[in-house]
């Protein structure tokens, strides 16, 4: 299967599937609406329990913007918000799809979910 994900986020392709990858975390956060740097940090910490450093956050923002996966919005404030682009949403959807396969297989093999679903009457 050919992946639509960018060849690399400056790491190997395996890294793209990690749910704690800064680019994936940022795309996930921005999928919920535009945010500036500080709001991104807080949101990511809340939904993923990951505290990104400012250097890592802005490094990832730079890469994502270069690849056209996010874009800045006009703002008079120095806190410039970013939003996810259509390409970014597509990339995130594929990454989430890949991770959900991993989640399903892992759950099944660890018997965390019943293998046969109860039929509705």
């Amino acid at each position: 299967m050919t992946s639509k994900l960018p060849a690399t986020f400056d790491k190997g392709p395996q890294a793209q599937r990690r749910s704690n990858d800064p680019p994936i975390l940022i795309l996930t956060s921005l999928a919920g609406g535009p945010k500036h740097g500080h709001a991104l940090l807080k949101d990511i910490e809340e939904f993923a329990g990951v505290k990104l450093g400012p250097g890592a956050l802005y490094g990832a923002i730079t890469r994502l913007e270069e690849r056209g996966l996010i874009e800045p919005l006009e703002s008079d404030d120095r806190r410039r918000p970013y939003r996810i682009t259509a390409s970014g949403a597509e990339v995130l959807a594929e990454a989430v799809g890949q991770m959900s396969v991993l989640v399903r297989v892992g759950q099944a093999r660890l018997r965390l979910v019943p293998t046969a679903r109860p039929r509705l009457a």
């Binding site: 400056d10 500036h36 956050l57 802005y58 490094g59 730079t62 800045p72 806190r79 410039r80």
Partner: protein, 323 residues
Amino acid sequence: MGTEGSKAADAHGGPHEDALLRWYPRAWRARYGEGLIALLDDEYGGHPPPLVRLGLVTGGLRERARQAAITGDTTPPVDGVRAGALMVFGAWSAFVVAGSSFAKFSEHFDEALPHTMGAHYIPDLAFSVLQTVAGVVSVLVVIGALLAAPAFVRFLRAGGWSSVRGHFLRALACTAVTIASTVPLVVVAHHLTAHQRNSGLHWYGAMFLLWVVLIVITLTMWTVVAVAAARRLQFRSAVLKAEAALGAVVAVGMVVMVGATAVWWGSMAKDAPSFLKASPGGAPGSPWDLWLVATVALMGAAVVVAAVGVAREARMWTRIRAS
């Protein structure tokens, strides 16, 4: 877009934040600096803790490496090949410093070897290999510079002088100071005995060390001039290919020279241990001669940088061919 860039030529925060931002390239600061400072204010009240500072320093260096096309995949592959070749060139400059240090260290080594059959063979052979390869590699570096000359002339005609003028003038001033300090050093050295010149007189040793530091700074500054100019040159495909090939050969030459130095070192430790000593004032007989260890460490570091440069060239060249 460039919205953030047009808003401010450069971002400004508190003195701590400004100092941290300086690790990032100017273009990056213009684009993202305001946002990053706002984040630091919001999150840490303008006083980020040490680990965050370290993260910003490494982040800034990473951005600089990316801007110089040393890392990353978003820069054009042609820039990546050129960056790889420039890494080899920079590594060669460091190797020249290490080589000069080795040349000074190994002065009169033949006299320390015993006059037995075969004792001179290996160290002499290793030294000859080192000298020959150094000569060949130097010629290759000059050829590389000559190949880049037409692109450099085009760069100057297109008004590129202003972008390297500052580097050039600083290097020129440093060269003038170095030359001015060489004259009294030579005059003084002329009136000293060989023993006085070789750690017999502490004040002369300090003077010589200062002169060596000046030489290293001057060489570094000219390397910066060359790299700053070459980063802006537009090479024709054939020239770029030749520069990449020369870079690879220079890197191989550096590896051979490190090998020859190691062989020389081993044979001297075996046949003339009195030539080596653990510290400048220490007793002779230790194979771990501090001067030699430092020299070979610098050579090794230069080889690593050159190898990374060649790998970068190869990777980017593969991308060019694939496209």
